[in-house]
């Protein structure tokens, strides 16, 4: 893509639930390779905004495009195949599948063997499955999850589940990765490790990342730019420094002093 077209372009996007405008008139632009934060009070519409981007909800107004292609109204699985992958605020792993299989599921749309080749066990089935397995293990290694790859996902400790969600999202080979409160429920020590991991995968996969988080240490620590949502509307945008000192943000979200 040309340097001119941003990777993600959201124009005046919004959605209503009955009378409630959960998100309205939001404009966001992400350039290739950026790591951007999205913060805001509880119920501000951050997760809802992710849902709009991933097709879980269809925007009632505005438009969303990825690398110039319009995404409005497309099914979530199509949007995923086009390059947006995500994690969930409330972990949604495939609990009864092994860690390895969780990652393989995400790799599914890149697999080439058909149903018939699997049923008849044609060579393409074996080669396809083999490739998937190798790829999946590669991802798990990055996330230091290869040691538990045959465990069922539901049996993992919480922190590993969070990491597995990110690994799974990455396996779908996205251009844009959306992380919804990846550090929730982690202690400061674990949060540190997560920050390093996020930086690492961005480099390695040449990713663009949009991140929701309430942990200001994390957000301010890794993000280059930050958007702030309140009551469904963008109230600020800027570098961490700017945001930290923005009176509107302080009033709505941060409270007086921030460490």
């Amino acid at each position: 893509m040309t340097a001119k077209t941003p990777l993600l372009k959201v124009e005046n996007a919004g959605i209503r639930f009955g009378g409630l405008k959960a998100v309205s008139d939001v404009n966001v632009e992400l350039k290739q390779g950026e790591l951007v934060g999205l913060i805001g009070p509880n119920g501000a519409g951050k997760t809802t905004f992710f849902n709009l981007l991933t097709g879980v909800y269809v925007p009632t107004e505005g438009s969303i495009s990825l690398a110039g292609e319009k995404l409005n109204g497309q099914a979530p699985y199509k949007i995923n195949q086009k390059g947006i992958s995500r994690t969930f605020q409330n972990i949604r792993l495939f609990g009864d599948l092994s860690v390895l299989d969780n990652v393989k599921v995400a790799y599914h749309s890149l697999a080439k063997h058909s149903i018939l080749s699997s049923i008849f066990r044609l060579p393409s089935h074996f080669s396809g499955e083999k490739e998937m397995e190798e790829k999946a293990i590669e991802f798990l290694k990055i996330f230091k999850l290869d040691g538990v790859m045959h465990e069922m996902a539901k049996n993992l400790p919480y922190g590993q589940q969070r990491r597995l969600e990110i690994a799974r999202a990455l396996a779908a080979n996205p251009k844009l990765l959306l992380l919804d409160e990846p550090a929730a429920g982690m202690n400061p020590q674990e949060t540190d490790e997560l920050m390093n991991l996020i930086s690492l995968i961005r480099e390695r996969f040449d990713l663009t990342i949009l991140l929701i988080e309430h942990d200001m240490l994390l957000v301010m620590g890794v993000c280059e730019r930050i958007y702030v949502l309140d009551h469904g509307q963008l109230i600020a945008e800027g570098t961490p420094e700017q945001i930290r000192n923005n009176p509107k943000v302080i009033e709505a979200y941060l409270g007086e002093e921030v460490s």
Partner: protein, 235 residues
């Protein structure tokens, strides 16, 4: 006020609490910190009677409560704000609060407490007819606390009240905890956010994989290098 001695709790084969002992005195705020899966929630659930310890003793105001059913324990004055809020999503804010006072018969006292809770959380008053499932995370946390207060507990157990909340709200919640404590309610606070927790607590315990590994005043612990490294982050 609460004395736990040497309890062991299992989930099937998983030994979740291994000989945990702990005391809470009247009027204190005691905090329990520990990593994910250390057994903090398990301990709270055991105190509340949702889980039964295999052995060991729990005494509340010198009465044995270990192994008693939850409702008997609630009746004696222990309330819990569960992890993840667990508000009754399909009921209004008001109905949630009513359920908090489920075991109480004193109509007048209940009415007073309604007012107290609304004073503490004016937001809840604005939303009293709204279905609680549609509240934001912070509002739900307030509701969960308000609901627990409706039982007029003498001991309030809080399980990660700051989880998933915006910084501003975290501060608000901690202020409210301190305020509740001032009105005479003893508090056992479980937190990941150890900095915050230690800042308002009198004493603290540290739990690691089902065992208490350290205890002391909040000050002592926040000074300990080991604790700092493990729980307070490198910043």
């Amino acid at each position: 006020m609460l004395k736990i001695s040497d309890i062991n709790v299992y989930y099937g084969n998983i030994h979740a609490l291994k000989g945990v002992s702990l005391d809470i005195n009247q009027g204190e705020i005691v905090t329990l910190i520990g990593a994910n899966g250390a057994g903090k929630s398990t301990l709270l659930k055991t105190i509340s009677g949702l889980l039964k310890p295999k052995n060991g003793e729990i005494a509340f105001e010198n009465e044995h409560v270990a192994g008693k059913v939850a409702q008997a324990i609630v009746k004696r004055g222990i309330s819990q704000v569960p992890e993840g809020r667990r508000v009754f999503a399909n009921m209004s804010v008001e109905e949630n609060l009513e359920l908090g006072a489920y075991l109480r018969k004193d109509k007048k006292g209940i009415k007073e407490d309604f007012e107290k809770v609304y004073q503490l959380f004016p937001r809840l008053y604005e939303r009293r007819k709204q279905l609680s499932g549609t509240l934001s995370g912070g509002e739900q946390q307030m509701l969960a606390m308000g609901r627990a207060l409706m039982a007029r507990p003498r001991l309030l157990l809080l399980d990660e009240p700051s989880m998933g909340l915006a910084p501003l709200l975290v501060k608000t919640i901690f202020n409210i905890i301190a305020e509740i404590n001032k009105t005479g309610t003893t508090i056992l606070l479980v937190e990941q956010n150890a900095n915050m927790a230690l800042s308002i607590a009198d004493r603290a315990y540290v739990i690691e994989t089902g065992k208490i590994v350290a205890a002391g005043t909040a000050e002592e612990l926040s000074q300990s290098d080991q604790i700092r490294a493990a729980y307070l982050g490198g910043h």
